[in-house]
């Protein structure tokens, strides 16, 4: 099967027909490209592992030699990891930031942070409150224009975030609950039809946020130098792009104000983001 997420077309193949059927159902609203940019392979780790304790290997055009296979019950996570890997290692048209992103009136908020900082949850909740969800894994910065492009694949909700989002978006299109994966419990949520239909629309970055979940409410201004260093760490292809990557990132941090926000719960975070947006 093939589908396009933002500017990236994927072809996915597997020994497991059920896994492809699940992906097909989840990605039914996405356009199907004739020629994919990347191929993802999700084979059984050995011929008998199709049937006995079925196990999915993570393969494709780009591979990591030490990528551990996953049980078939976590096949959607294997697909997600394999897709991420292709983009992270192979995509060079844009500067990639490991971040989530939402848009309103053509202007975007980019949110980046460690795993568990809440960037997926925040973008998802904002997406349910009138913002356009642009992605929860990669934000693609065009080095020529400085605009950001969306990569709205299935949102990967983890652990406590699953309950929070299910409560906030009861009618959402959720995938199956994947228990006890290497990243904890995971449940995928498909972006809204509007987010998928508009995924080719770029946006102007207007605010950079570095959220951190857990501490009491706090907002700090982040200077362009600190933002630059943090974003080099959040980019998977900054080094590979050479001078083009440097220029794109330097331009971004000089143009866009950056804030670090600490928040104790989702409602507080949403209020903080909306307030910062009004002020930006």
């Amino acid at each position: 099967m093939s589908f396009r997420v933002g500017p990236v077309g994927f072809r996915v193949g597997s020994d497991f027909a059920a896994l492809i059927a699940t992906l097909r159902a989840l990605y039914a609203d996405y356009p199907g490209p004739e020629i994919a940019h990347f191929t993802v392979r999700l084979p059984a780790t050995a011929p008998w592992r199709r049937f006995l304790r079925p196990s999915v290997a993570i393969e494709g055009d780009y591979m990591l030699p030490d990528a551990a296979p996953l049980p078939l019950a976590q096949g959607l996570l294997a697909a997600e990891m394999a897709m991420n890997l292709q983009v992270a290692l192979g995509h060079r048209r844009h500067l990639l930031l490991h971040a989530s992103c939402v848009e309103r009136d053509g202007r975007a908020i980019i949110m980046t942070g460690e795993s568990g900082a809440g960037k997926s949850t925040l973008a998802t909740l904002l997406g349910a409150r009138g913002w356009r969800f642009m992605g929860d894994e990669f934000v693609l910065v065009d080095p020529m224009t400085g605009d950001v492009y969306a990569f709205p694949r299935a949102i990967s909700l983890k652990n406590e975030a699953i309950g929070v989002v299910q409560h906030a978006i009861p009618g959402g299109r959720f995938g199956p609950l994947l228990r006890n994966t290497p990243k904890g419990d995971i449940r995928h949520l498909m972006p809204t039809p509007d987010a998928i239909a508009r995924m080719d629309e770029p946006a102007r970055p207007a605010l950079l946020l570095f959220p951190a979940f857990g501490a009491s409410r706090d907002v700090r201004e982040v200077g362009s130098v600190e933002a630059f260093v943090r974003l080099t760490q959040a980019s998977t292809n900054y080094t590979a792009l050479g001078e083009r990557g440097f220029d794109a990132l330097a331009d971004l941090v000089e143009r866009v104000p950056a804030r670090a926000i600490d928040y104790p719960d989702g409602q507080t975070a949403l209020a903080m983001v909306e307030a910062l947006w009004e002020a930006a």
């Binding site: 994919a36 940019h37 191929t39 048209r93 050479g242």
Partner: protein
């Protein structure tokens, strides 16, 4: 057409790209990535009238190749700075040599590790100088280390601790256990200075090295790329020097590499229509088997022809060392595989 075959065809005749259906493009791109020939393909195929996704993929591939080339030449310069005070000849090999020498074989080529050839007598000093300049052992293991030092044509790989780049320091171009022993002193004596303190092998030696690397060492995995190198080298050198084939023949005999070089020329002609003298063309029955191995890649990037690959894997061990030594080597490796689990 099988994807491996399609890849070889389009590389040899880039005009064929204009006739490909979408499914063929997807298979071609995937196979080219798997064989690490995507950068080469991107430079071969004209970007005028390509489908949009193809143009985007090939643009990224050209871009990646340019960046790899820059990084490889920089790494060679870092090595030169670390070793130039020793006053020994520093001969670049393989991809970095093609790029540094401005050869057609270097265009779009994937370049991984830095491969360096130095005189065997200088090896201890080279090793010390590299360790002092920030390189470290990549896989410290007593058996491997001893094995490399006693039997291999290179030091165990060294990794630079800051740049995370690997260097393979060779003192000859085939393992000492192989059936053929090329004349390493002659390789170094004949090397061509680049004018920046670095050298590359003389044209015939460069072809001989590529042929030995592909057909006298290893199981031909990823070998299509090496055969493409051979095609480009043969075309470029024979165009520059009308006597090149004679010189290649004589030099190959000196290194005891005649049959391997002849095999390389025949397979390059078979797969890439490399021009060459008629005397080099007499086909061997086994060429078909080598061709099958080199093209064993499907449109999903997977290796095909399991039995052929197994046969070449066994051959790779057979030609690498004598039987008794092989038995001992495999025993040590097998024991290690079932050895005690590491602490957690």
């Amino acid at each position: 057409m099988k994807a491996g075959c399609l890849l070889a065809t389009v590389l040899a005749e880039p005009a064929r790209a204009g006739t490909l259906a979408p499914a063929e493009w997807t298979a071609l791109i995937t196979a080219a990535r798997a064989e690490q020939l995507i950068g080469t393909l991107a430079l071969r195929v004209d970007s005028g009238t390509l489908p949009r996704a193809v143009a985007e993929v090939l643009h990224d591939a050209r871009d990646a190749a340019t960046e790899q080339r820059r990084a490889a030449l920089w790494e060679a310069e870092m090595m030169r700075r670390a070793l130039s005070h020793l006053g020994v000849p520093l001969v670049l090999l393989k991809g970095t040599a093609f790029a540094a020498g401005g050869l057609a074989a270097g265009q779009g080529r994937h370049i991984g590790d830095l491969d360096l050839l130095v005189p065997r007598a200088a090896l201890p000093r080279v090793e010390q100088a590299l360790l002092a300049a920030g390189w470290e052992w990549a896989k410290p293991d007593a058996y491997d280390d001893a094995y490399y030092r006693r039997w291999m044509h290179e030091l165990p790989p060294l990794l630079h601790r800051e740049r995370d780049r690997m260097i393979d320091v060779h003192h000859t171009i085939l393992p000492l256990t192989a059936r053929t022993t090329p004349d390493a002193d002659a390789l170094i004596a004949g090397a061509v200075a680049l004018g920046n303190g670095l050298h590359v092998l003389a044209p015939p030696d460069m072809v001989i090295h590529a042929a030995l690397h592909l057909f006298a060492d290893g199981d031909l995995a990823g070998g299509l790329r090496n055969l493409w190198d051979i095609d480009r080298l043969l075309r470029e050198f024979s165009e520059l020097d009308p006597d090149f084939w004679l010189k290649l023949h004589a030099r190959a005999a000196e290194h005891g590499a005649g049959p391997y070089v002849a095999r390389a020329a025949r397979l390059a002609a078979r797969l890439f229509a490399t021009p060459g003298p008629a005397a080099w063309r007499r086909t061997h029955v086994s060429d078909a088997l080598f061709e099958r191995r080199l093209l064993a890649r499907d449109g999903w990037g997977r290796e095909t022809c399991r039995l052929t690959r197994l046969a070449f894997y066994i051959r790779s061990h057979w030609i690498r060392m004598p039987p008794l030594m092989l038995a001992r080597h495999l025993l040590v490796k097998a024991r290690r595989r079932v050895g005690p689990a590491p602490n957690e």
